[in-house]
Every structure is written in structure tokens, then in C-alpha cells.
Amino acid sequence: MITNNGNGSEKGDVLLEMRGLRIEGQSDEQWHEIVHGVDVTLRRGEVLGLIGESGAGKSTIGIAAMGYARPGCRISGGTIKFDGMELTTADEGVKRKLRGSRIAYVAQSAAASFNPAHRLIDQYSETPIQHGIMSKSQAESEAKELFGRLKLPDPDTIGYRYPHQVSGGQLQRAMTAMAMSCKPDLIIFDEPTTALDVTTQIEVLAAMKKVVHEFNTAAIYITHDLAVVAQMSDRIMVLRYGDVVEEGSARQMISEPQQEYTRDLLEVRSYRKPEAEDTSGDRPLLEVSDVTAGYGNKVMILKDVGVTIHRQRTVSVVGESGSGKSTLARVITGLLPPVKGSTIYDGEEWPRSFKERSRDQLRRLQMIYQMPDVALNPKQKIREIIGRPLSFYLGITGSAREQRLKELLEMIELPHSFADRLPSELSGGQKQRICIARALAAEPELIICDEVTSALDQLVAEEILKLLQRLQDTLHVSYLFITHDLATVRAISDEVVVMLQGRVVEQGRTREIFKPPHHEYTDLLLSSVPEMDPDWLDNLLAERQARIARGEKLAQTADN
């Protein structure tokens, strides 16, 4: 089972051993097995990556390493041995002593895991004091030292801030510090960087990797991103539907995956759109110019932003969170009337607010949202969701509407029988397809896609991107793609607009943007996208160090 060939094999003795782990989850008052007999072995100082799509059971297994099951779940079989101690049969008191002091947990959303009413350093000190390991002053001085090691700015004072006073990336590092506070033997990282921007992710990954190595802590790193896990782990375990698909050292897994599924995961970012001919001479479909907009009258989120989209083209807007890319979408749709600037659609200036736009204008511009879960009314059947734009805009009713509904479902590759389902009966990818069909039902010329794939698993996201591309080829629609994911940009767009702090820093055809020389911020953004190479993070950090040493100035991220 233990296939420790390659890097990181010379680790200590076995710390955690799970054998034949079975976990059941409850739904509709019945128990279903969600983890089917998984074996996990972890040695001291070793980092194990658990990777898989949602529903693979990776978080459930990670949490089980603490001898714990989430509400609605139960450990139904197998053994969990932590440092010789059997956790499945241990009583709550024993396990409570272990948690925090010897096993720590870092959650995906640091913002939701911190108590907003207490200072960071007080929350840091709570666990060691509770477990009687340190006094308050000892804990505080240790905290400052650890904040420094995690490269938090002003380590001596940052701890006295409240969680809302630091950025997301800093909070995630503070959370890591908190997990480290008792010098645990094992840390479980549950998707710690998923909610962060790529540029911020790098700093958090680097900080986590550093402390885990320095304290020789064993870790379980849970993520859906193979490129990220390759940076962090010595060994990777690929999970699917509660079973182990493949296990091996990180290097081996990246260079020679054995299973079809692992290969699919590796190739997920390889899709490229064929390059379209230059159409810049034609009249643009949408021309947004000199837009300045903000909420309230004081702070402007967008400053003199201009974007041009041609027919049957895909323009991507990229940037970190807070760069104003979603605000741009709200301005174009008319949800946020701009203070200054104009929206010209097909040669005609449109009113700033959607309330003043005609029904036909509204029809010609549709939007697809990030979260298909909340973009579909849970109480309406698919027939009603897709059928409404048909009757509302185009006046199609009765059997003609049913016929059109069938065609639309065919376009998004779903059977006609789905018309009678509720959104809750569909998977995430299927829901997003329904959203696409709803937008297409209005027969628009332009569709704004706001982070449409970021809530989906990678393989599903790839399918959605390919679907959108096929639809563009047959229906000649244009897309405005808003995303923070550069892999998506590279896959689907003809042109790219890079935004930073409400301004456009660079725009042009995709091929040119991705080719050096770049604007320094584009460079930072591009170089921060994790690659499928276990040495990528180390090399990148070394290169950035060297550049700083040479006295070059690096672009600042919004986070620090």
C-alpha cells in the first residue's frame, strides 16, 4: 500500500493509519455509504494530498482523521489509529484533548471560521491556554514569531486586529498560525486556498509549506486542484465516489498517471479555442466606453473602463477579486447605472438603467451566473424556467413552446424528460446547462458569463466551456467572460481584458496577452497560475526572490 518511492520517502514512523474506513451519510432518513473502505497511512512529517471532485469523500476522510464525522454522517467501519491510539472507540474526552493540541484543522473559509468579535491573537491563544500548554504571554510571543514566519506584515501588531481588518489571504495564514499554535503532529488543510485569488494563493501556499516543513508536521491537504496539491504534497491520493482511484508520490502521479481518471484530471486545462480571424474593422456588437461607476457616490469601483466586443467573439475580463470585473457586468446589464460613460449596443446607445430599456433590448443581452444553485428558482420546474423567456420575449406558447423547449434541451445535451424536474434534482453541471438554455431561449446576441465555471468541478467545468464554444459556433453568439481563472481565459477567449483596481491595465488578443512582454501586473497574474509541476512553486519563489535581490520591483497584489 505504501508506495513511497521518489521524493519525500525518508520520513518518520507511522503517525496515522486508517484501515478499511467506511463512512455513512444520512439522507431522507436512510444511511448511505459515502466512503467505501479506504486505507490511509501517514508518516510523521509527511504531506498527503487528497484530491477529487465534490462528492469524492475527500473532506469526509480528512475529518475522519480526527476521529470525527460531520453531523449527518457516521463512521461505520474500519479503524483509525493515531500515534497508536484507536480513535473510533476512544471516548469524546480523549478525542477532545487530541484536537487542537495534537491534530489541528484549517478550514476553507477562514472568514467563517474566525469569531468576528475577538482579536486574532486572542483566538490564537485560546487553544494552547485551554489545553494548559502555555500561559497567555507565552502564547502571544509565540504567535508573533509564527506570524513572522508566515510572512504576515507587521507580525508584532497584526494579531491585535480583528478578523475583518485583515485581508482574505492574511486571514488564511492567521488560521494556519492558529492551527500551528500547539505544534500539532498532524494538520488537516481542507481546501485552504480555494476561495483565494491566484496571486494570493501563492503566498498562502508558500507560507503553509514553509511552516509544515520547519516544524516537521504531518499534513493532509485536501483540494480539487491537482496543480496545487502537487506543490504541497509528498504523496497524492486520487479519490472518486468514496473510493481510492490511485495513490503514489506526487512526482510519479504528475509524470506517469496510471488511471484514466487521473489522466483526465491532468489534461483538464489543455483545451484551446482555435484562433479566429481579426474582425476589429467591423462595427462592434457592444462598445462600452469611459465607464466610471460605484456604489453610493463616494468610492468609484470602475474608473474609465472601456470594452469592445465583436459578433461571434469571446472577450474575457480577468482580475482578482475587487478588481471591478463583476461591477462591469452590472453596468453593462444596467443593474448599476454608471456615473459616466456609455453603453453602445449594435450602434445604438442604450439607457443606463435596465428599467428604461425595452423588452427587446433586454432580450438581446442575457446573463449566466456563477452559482447555478441560486440562479434557478428552486420551486420552478425546468419547463417553466426555460419556457418563461420563450413566452415572455417571443410569445411562443402551447405545443410550439414545448417543441422549442425540447430543441433547447437538446442543444445543452440534456434529455427532454428533464423538463419535469426541479433544479434540486440536478447536479451542479446540469444546473449550469439549464442556465445556459434559459439564456439561449431569449435568442440573445450577447451573453455575459459571470464566473460560470468557478463553482464547478474541473472536469464538469471543461464540459461547460466546450458546450459554450459549440453553441457559439452554431448560434454565432458573443460572450463576455468574467473570470479569475486564467486557464479558462486561455481556453475560450479571443480577446482578453486585464483589470486591476477598477482600471483596465492591458487588453488585446489572447495570443498577444499570453506572450511576453507583459504589463507587470499581467506578468504577476500569469506567473501565479499553478502548473502541473511539483517544483513550480519553489522555482517561482526562488525566481521572484532573485528578481527582488536584483532590485527589480514586483507588482503588488491587491491583498497585501
Binding site: 453531523p71 444596467g334 435596465f354 451566473y369 452559482m371 420551486k379 418563461r388 415572455f392
Partner: protein, 277 residues
């Protein structure tokens, strides 16, 4: 139908008991003229007769049969309380959903009016308004419905606030849908479970308030049989250690408890609240 029986079977004992109480009350109320031995306002015996074979529960202060009056009381009190609650919910939900969907000054205006209504103790406000509009049955229904639409407004507004910010409502707005379509098709269906549960609870409050007003003499007027005024009419008997006036009081209490049992079960079912969370 099959699903309904399945659901009923899985219900806890308290919910079954509550449902049984409600069903019996509705049954008695609807069939009052059939199952009662005498007429609603008919004087059939001497005053304050003890229970006997002729008068199962004795007679009241005017010599009317208590059992008959209890049956008609169920019909009147529950019927009026139900109509009142329904009206309060209609007014409160429509206003609440409008406030949250439209926002801005509509929301401000409606919310401040509701604040004013809520700042005056309900019973005192009800007494005041009833002296103005008069103590007719439509008057009682109207006054209580308006007073109780205020907390319903609050709830409907709070619940739908969480719904109107969701993307599917934005989709409908961007599609160009009108206000009513958005309220009735998008917002209301997703705000229903808490409102339905609140309906049960509010029904109890309305029911108790009507009884209290009747007890004070400003609610349902004699000779109409009603549990609240029946308690008052026979209140003197309490001094003599008789249980007759306690019967309508007990009926009020039992129905309130029964409705609450069912509401608890419904809330548990719909809100996803589980004991282990």
C-alpha cells in the same frame, strides 16, 4: 394521498395528537347543529344546573345547555379566528413582500407604520379601536386582522429579504418581469414554509385574543356562543368550586396546544432543523 398517509405515519406522537385535536374541533364546529341536542341560544333548563343525563355538561347562567354552547362555540370562535388570521396573513404578506421587493421609500414607509402599530400593546390598541368601530363581528375581525398583520409583515419582509437578493430574482428583474410576477412566482413560493408555520402560531394568538376580548365584553357579543364569553358568563361559579366555566377555558387551552404541536412538527419538517445540529 398515499404520500400524505406515509407522512402522517412518520409524524411523532405529539403531532398526531395535535392533528387529532384539530380534526375533532373542526368536526364538532362544522357539525354543531347536528350533534347538539338543543339550539344555540335556547333556554332549556334552570340556571347553573349540574351535569346530568339531560344536560351532559350542565347549564349556564341563563339555563342554556353547556354542551350545545360548547359545540357552537367551537364553530364561532375557531371560524372567526381562522378568517381573522387568514386576513391578517393576506395583508401582512402582501405588504411585507412588496416592501422587500421594492425596497426604498415603500419599504421605509410600510416599516415605520408597522413600528407604530407594534409599539402599542395589542390588547389596549384593540380595545381602543373596537370602541371606535363598534363590537360587530366584522369589526372584531377587521381590527384584529390589521393589528396582527404587523408581525406578519415583519416576518414576511425578513424572510423574503433573503430571497430577493438571490440571483434568480435578479434574472427575473433583468428579464423585465413586473412586480406581481416577481412577488408571486419568484419570491412567495420560496418564503412559504416560515409563513405557514407562523400561520399556525398566529392562529393561536388571534384565537386567544378573541377569547380575551370576549371575556372583557368587547369581542363576540351575546347571545352568540363563544368560548371566551362563556368563561366570563359563568365566572361566578368558580367561587363555588364548580368546573363548568373551566370547560370552555380548557377547550381554548387544548386547541392552542394541539395547533402548536402540529406547527412544531411542520417547522421541524420544513426548516431542516435537526436535533443534532
Amino acid at each position: 394521498m398515499v404520500e400524505f398517509w406515509k407522512l402522517l405515519k412518520s409524524a411523532p406522537f405529539t403531532a398526531k395528537l395535535g392533528l387529532l385535536i384539530i380534526v375533532i374541533n373542526i368536526f364538532v364546529g362544522v357539525l354543531a347543529p347536528v350533534i347538539s341536542p338543543y339550539g344555540e341560544t335556547e333556554i332549556v333548563g334552570a340556571e347553573y344546573e349540574p351535569p346530568s343525563e339531560q344536560f351532559w355538561l350542565g347549564t349556564d347562567n341563563l339555563g342554556r345547555d353547556m354542551f350545545t354552547r360548547m359545540n357552537y362555540g367551537a364553530r364561532n370562535t375557531i371560524g372567526i379566528a381562522f378568517i381573522t388570521t387568514a386576513l391578517a396573513f393576506f395583508i401582512g404578506s402582501v405588504m411585507g413582500l412588496m416592501a422587500s421587493t421594492l425596497g426604498g421609500w415603500v419599504d421605509q414607509l410600510l416599516s415605520r407604520i408597522v413600528d407604530v402599530i407594534l409599539s402599542i400593546p395589542t390588547l389596549i390598541f384593540a380595545l381602543l379601536l373596537l370602541t371606535i368601530v363598534g363590537t360587530t363581528i366584522p369589526g372584531v375581525i377587521g381590527v384584529i386582522a390589521i393589528l396582527y398583520s404587523a408581525p406578519v409583515f415583519r416576518l414576511a419582509r425578513a424572510v423574503s429579504m433573503n430571497v430577493v437578493v438571490l440571483d434568480f430574482v435578479e434574472v427575473a428583474r433583468l428579464r423585465g418581469e413586473g412586480l406581481w410576477w416577481i412577488i408571486i412566482r419568484e419570491v412567495l413560493p420560496n418564503s412559504m414554509p416560515p409563513l405557514v408555520a407562523e400561520f399556525g402560531l398566529r392562529f393561536c394568538f388571534v384565537f386567544l385574543l378573541i377569547s380575551a376580548l370576549s371575556f372583557l365584553g368587547l369581542g363576540i357579543q351575546p347571545p352568540t356562543a363563544d368560548w371566551g364569553s362563556m368563561v366570563r358568563d359563568n365566572a361566578t361559579l368558580i367561587t363555588y368550586g364548580e368546573f363548568t366555566p373551566l370547560l370552555p377555558a380548557a377547550a381554548i387551552a387544548v386547541l392552542t396546544v394541539g395547533v402548536n404541536f402540529v406547527v412544531d412538527w411542520f417547522l421541524y419538517k420544513t426548516s431542516g432543523l435537526r436535533d443534532d445540529h
